[in-house]
């Protein structure tokens, strides 16, 4: 496939990927630091190029429900927002998960709680991977660390969403959203025709031909035993994701005595801290979870038997570290280092935390 080199912000890469991946509809509401997603789409006018619909909704509540409508009708639809807006969308997300609708959601996380700050943060980890809305459900969660991954994960997101009939979340943050980096973009993938939708999404509500029964998209069930059965089905799907779809990257882990566990922006900072540590003679590596749900439990369990300590580095007060501890079962010291509220840690701070909290302790 032909590739073209561009220099783009992470947010713009999401928008460009949407157009080029055959997305049918984007529904959003402006919020810093992700407004460039819709701005780029509106400037590109994809309705003229590919027929993609772009609509600025009256609220995040409306945009997530527009996603529900489009996804229920078998279309490739998406929305993006940042933390406060994503909180407002939680109602829609649990309905999407309950009705098993494939769609793409993007959270360019900023500091909280409340209105918080507009600077980058990773404090929406719990909200994303542990629920957020009500009921037992999971979002398939991808954590990009580069502008290229912002682009690539839109494609991977569609693949996972439709493979599992499940909402996919791209959990990014203000730094990856705002930074400009090199980006290789691919050719345009055509949107699905209505015939293809009928074939790939036979459950969807595109209009009932006389040859089949009517399709119903709903998350409502009046009888508890049937709802329990539906929950079992969902859990089996999540278990399959945990079995088959875990993705992560390891940097300098072969001989590592200590390993940082970090995703997204924090992984970039931790990678720099690995360089600084190696320069000082500390054998340190990085494990970067790419899927946050499913979480790379097995490799963490494996590492915990080999290394002298794990340091979870997050722009939060300590959220992912809980999953690291669960996976590592305290087989080695596990500590957390985080800056939060929109403050980005420096690589020096990260290395210092490793020395103080693990190596010296």
């Amino acid at each position: 496939m032909a590739k073209e080199l561009k220099l783009m912000k992470g947010n713009e890469a999401i928008a460009e990927a949407a157009i080029r991946s055959g997305c049918d509809g984007y529904f959003g509401y402006p919020i810093t630091p992700q407004s460039e997603v819709m701005e780029h789409l509106m400037a590109e006018k994809p309705w003229e190029k590919t027929g993609m619909v772009v609509l600025q909704a009256e609220s995040e509540t409306a945009s997530i429900n527009m996603v529900y409508g489009g996804a229920g009708a078998g279309k490739k639809v998406m929305t993006s927002s940042s933390s406060p807006g994503v909180s407002l969308m939680q109602e829609g997300m649990t309905y999407l998960a309950g009705a098993e609708l494939p769609c793409l959601l993007v959270n360019v996380v900023r500091g909280g709680p409340g209105l918080g700050t507009i600077q980058p943060s990773q404090a929406d980890y719990f909200q994303t991977v542990k629920g957020g809305g009500h009921g037992d459900y999971r979002l398939f969660t991808l954590a990009p660390a580069t502008v290229q991954e912002m682009y690539d994960f839109v494609f991977l997101g569609w693949e996972m969403a439709f493979k599992y009939r499940n909402p996919v979340m791209i959990l990014s943050d203000g730094a990856i959203g705002q930074v400009m980096e090199k980006l290789y973009v691919t050719d345009y993938t055509p949107r699905w025709t209505n015939e293809e939708i009928a074939e790939k999404c036979p459950w969807s509500t595109y209009g009932k031909p006389s040859t089949r029964k009517h399709n119903i998209i709903t998350s409502l069930e009046l009888e508890a035993p049937k709802q329990e059965e539906h929950n079992h089905k969902l859990q089996a799907k999540y278990a399959k994701m945990e079995e088959d779809e875990v993705r992560y990257e390891m940097v300098n882990c072969e001989d590592a005595e200590y390993v940082f566990v970090a995703y997204g922006s924090s992984a970039r900072i931790a990678e720099k801290a690995v360089q600084l540590g190696r320069e000082k003679g500390i054998k340190v590596g990085l494990l970067r979870p790419i899927t946050l749900f499913p979480f790379p439990k097995k490799i963490i369990a494996e590492l915990s038997t080999k290394v002298k300590g794990l340091l979870a580095v997050e722009m939060s007060a300590g959220q992912m570290v809980e999953d690291v501890r669960l996976a590592a079962q305290f087989r080695c010291p596990i500590e957390h280092f985080g800056r939060f509220g929109g403050v980005i840690p420096t690589p020096h701070e990260v290395l210092e935390a490793l020395e103080e909290k693990i190596i010296k302790a």
Partner: protein, 183 residues
């Protein structure tokens, strides 16, 4: 080669676009690049700033807190970033409005009277390109040929008529940059 740069000044001085042109030029010269706008601990509060990294290797973190070069365009930014220059690094500043000049002895310091020159030539719009020229004179991290290509790539086609004027400003900057101290 890895060059980690902060460009800081008032909003409206063309700080972000200077960084963008630098990043685009690096991109055209087949370097790894990143451009990270005012974002993080020192956001807002009167100043705009951008970190640009140009490197021959994969860039780990685009978020950096110490710099090989600081390009400083107002007093607030000088106060904030003078201490963040790596020992042996470069501080380039426009003396316009600077009442407390830099004092560090372990870095190389240059100044470029770009504000004065731009108003003298009636070229307020390309003020930032005079500054860029001064920087490239001190640290030729990208060559002039690629600055032109970077401008072509970053500017929308309707603005391509302004490229010669921009390149002339880069030349001006190269000529008028002055050494304050070198190690």
């Amino acid at each position: 080669m890895t060059e980690e740069i902060i460009i800081a000044g008032f909003g409206g001085q063309g700080v972000l676009s200077m960084g963008k042109i630098l990043a685009y030029s690096g991109l055209m010269q087949d370097k790894e690049v990143s451009w990270m706008p005012s974002y993080g601990p020192e956001m807002r509060g009167g100043t705009a700033n951008v970190s640009v990294i140009i490197s021959d290797e994969r860039i780990s973190s685009p978020m950096i807190s110490v710099f090989d070069t600081a390009i400083i365009l107002n007093q607030q930014s000088l106060d904030k970033f003078e201490s963040s220059v790596k020992p042996g690094g470069v501080l380039l500043y426009d003396p316009n409005g600077i009442i407390k000049p830099p004092t560090r002895k372990d870095i190389n310091i240059y100044k470029v009277a770009a504000t004065e020159k731009a108003s003298e030539l009636g070229l307020a719009k390309v003020f930032n390109m005079i500054v860029l020229g001064a920087f490239l004179q001190v640290k030729p991290v990208v060559t002039e040929e690629y600055i032109e290509k970077g401008l072509m790539k970053s500017l929308p086609e309707r603005h391509h008529g302004m490229i010669p004027e921009n390149l002339k400003a880069v030349q001006t900057g190269k000529k008028i940059v002055e050494t304050v101290q070198t190690l």
